[in-house]
Symmetry: C2
Subunit: 443 residues, 2 copies
């Protein structure tokens, strides 16, 4: 045992999947923390609406409360751990904890995606820290990497697979050739997707994480509303098959790049080379590329969600605060993290190659009209052909590099053509090599 | 700019590949550190034997010295950055810097692989920190992940590709079907391998990193001498080809596992499933799996060497110290990091499947005698067959799970058989799934 020993008390608000995993992780490994760091980590108070959750998490009756105010007000509590998610009462918990001089550790991506700047500033005003490793990438230590280990770099890109549910669905669609709706239903049955899957499949969850990670990486404010968002509902087996023929794999990516024209921040399905490392990230796993001018490409891989992996990130944050407290320090927030205001580049200014799938009313006649329409918008076509899948006839178009605004406008016109039923898919062909443009590494 | 601004002075010893990259990284990004962290990071003093290196690194004449004592003795210097490598005078530099109350940041894996415990204890005695992110995995932030982000876990395994030179050689052998010697010569010509390649190709470099990473992960002392070591000189195109037929890829792995019988620490070529993420790590890149009981499998990927990537790790460590200094804290070493003494499990106790390639004097007769010999050691054979490669006849044996001690003893007997010339290759078939045994994650 260490020569300095200090009890650090945490107050745990929320005992669901992540909160329960956090309580159990601390219980399992308490002796290890004592031995390795001289810290006796205790859950002094824990709050949930359902007392049965407390029992399942091993919280003794005397430490349990159904009122979060009891946790924040407890003078023994050094660190408040908020694991209920959502904007309210999480916001009020943060405010009350800061006002009481307590540090906050959270996994709340929805809240931080919208209000990170204000809450970090508030923590700083009160001389305490707000730590959020678990809010992006689950157990993957990407937040700490961007805040500390890679701090010597000018960051160029943070991009990757940030949502496990959609990666699980796309992985199964690719391996089984199944439809989105069928795999989603099965994923819901197996607990990989929520009853209301919108936050995952429409990209909101990943967009929150893009907002958090790009705020940290680029030292500026990016909110969820700044992030362009397109989900995976329109991805069909035909698209996955066509991608495969091109040597590509479809993944839902969250991408944040620092460009000369501002921050390019977006979530959408993208075709990436099948030999790219992200292409082999399957199932519910997450992986994030972080590219800096000195370090070049790095990648961080692990479970992006789940009880114990997310608990790992929460307890890592808790222990870092606890170790500072045990050394007799008062861990303070860093100065003005989001002072810079970098413009967000509108999605219309994105330039890449595009894959379009148009369902054709009379397929035989569609190609010339499609070509004419694209030409009118000065979009060069690399390849255009018809495919028949079951009864459905489609036109597949691969463009040369084009401007998103032009492609969007062209799609609106394509949808009006008599020979075209609708624009069924628009998938960006991501230039992953561009993520490392400007890196001095690997010379 | 931030409301608190503080100049932090570093003393840089060594201006070679990594030292030069460190100086240039700081020069490129100084404004960013000032803006983001309120830190004016300056190289107050820099030391090299060759003044031309100083000029190339942009060090002004008045800050340059050829005597490292000048750096350590400079009262302006807050942090000493040691980037000369080797045991001496690096050891003396550490001792002098600690005695002068200065923190040390280093990339010196050879020194730390042998003396980490003593040097960390010495830093602690003097109330300063020794930081070594760059000593394992180059730019990959694996040290910080183990020290901080994953601290809530009981770590089970740290394993991966820890040497870029050997991975470059094996990757080219696999893609080109070339011999080890030819690729090594070409790698030396291209600067991927040293004139004396022994530290890389014989596994010493990777073993140092295994010692450092397992010491941190398992909170105990592991030194380079504790790590079993086998290099890649014996790997032939036949082995790579046979592995491919088994759906496997040969990589030089560094592996540290906490087992019930002690720490299993080893560096050797291993056959891993070709769809394992480490199998797609090619060229000079590194990747490390870190498996914890809560987080499950995580992987960290990036450039394991090179001027700028290694500088990224060095500057990350420097900035973390600098940020604490700027907050008015005195960053202290953690208490007693290596107090626990966990036994090292002897390599003889390893149990896995083995691939053996025996060059046969008279191949037609060799199989029965080989089978008899293995049976005498109670080693079950899954597959045994003859292959002819050019003029060379070999016997390939794949065993069922066996004890290393028995396999080593059997190989000594096999070499004595009249029908066998020599045991040309012994390659372990790594059970990568076992790395996550005991994890509660991903339930």
């Amino acid at each position: 045992m260490s020569d300095t020993m200090r009890t650090v008390n945490i107050g745990l608000i929320g005992l669901g999947t992540v909160g329960g995993g956090t309580a159990r992780t601390i219980e399992h490994n308490r002796d290890e923390y004592l031995r390795a760091y001289g810290i006796d980590l205790r859950i002094a108070k824990a709050c949930a609406l359902d007392p049965e959750q407390a029992a399942a998490a091993g919280i003794p009756a005397e430490a349990f409360t159904t009122d979060w105010h009891d946790v924040v007000a407890d003078p023994a509590v050094d660190i408040v751990v908020e694991l209920i998610g959502g904007e309210h009462p999480a916001t009020e918990i943060f405010e009350a904890a800061f006002a009481a001089g307590k540090h906050v550790v959270t996994a709340n991506k929805a809240l931080l995606g919208r209000n990170m700047e204000r809450l970090c500033a508030l923590a700083r005003e009160h001389g305490v820290q707000l730590r959020c490793e678990a809010s992006a990438g689950g157990g993957i230590p990407i937040v700490a990497a961007l805040e500390y280990s890679l701090a010597g770099n000018r960051m160029l890109t943070v991009a990757g697979i940030l949502n496990g549910t959609t990666n699980y669905i796309l992985s199964r669609m690719a391996s089984e050739g199944s439809d989105f709706a069928d795999v989603l239903a099965d994923a819901q049955r197996l607990g990989y997707a929520e009853a209301d899957p919108s936050a995952d499949v429409d990209g909101f969850d990943a967009a929150s994480k893009v907002a958090i990670l790009s705020s940290i990486a680029f030292h500026t404010r990016v909110t969820t509303d700044d992030v362009y968002m397109q989900g995976i509902r329109d991805i069909s087996p035909v698209d996955i098959d066509e991608a495969r023929k091109m040597g590509r794999t479809i993944k839902l990516l969250g991408i944040a790049r620092m460009t000369e024209d501002g921050i390019d921040a977006r979530v959408h399905p993208a075709m990436i080379p099948s030999d790219h490392m992200l292409a082999s990230v399957n199932g519910a796993m997450n992986a994030v590329f972080a590219v800096g001018d000195s370090v070049g490409e790095t990648m961080f891989y692990g479970a992006g969600a789940g009880s114990y992996p997310t608990a790992s990130a929460v307890v890592g944050d808790v222990l870092e605060l606890a170790r500072a407290i045990a050394r007799g320090e008062r861990p303070e927030a860093e100065p003005e993290p989001f002072e810079r205001r970098v413009a967000i580049r509108p999605i219309e200014e994105l330039r890449c190659r595009y894959y379009l799938r148009l369902t054709a009313a009379r397929a035989d006649d569609a190609l010339p009209a499609v070509a004419d329409t694209l030409e009118a918008f000065k979009i060069a076509v690399a390849e255009a052909r018809q495919v028949v899948d079951g009864g459905e006839r489609s036109v597949i178009v691969i463009t040369e590099e084009a401007r998103e605004g032009d492609v969007q406008a062209a799609c609106a016109e394509l949808a009006k053509l008599a020979s075209i039923e609708r624009v069924a898919s628009l998938i960006r062909i991501e230039d992953t090599a561009a993520w490392a443009e400007g890196a001095e590494a690997n010379e």
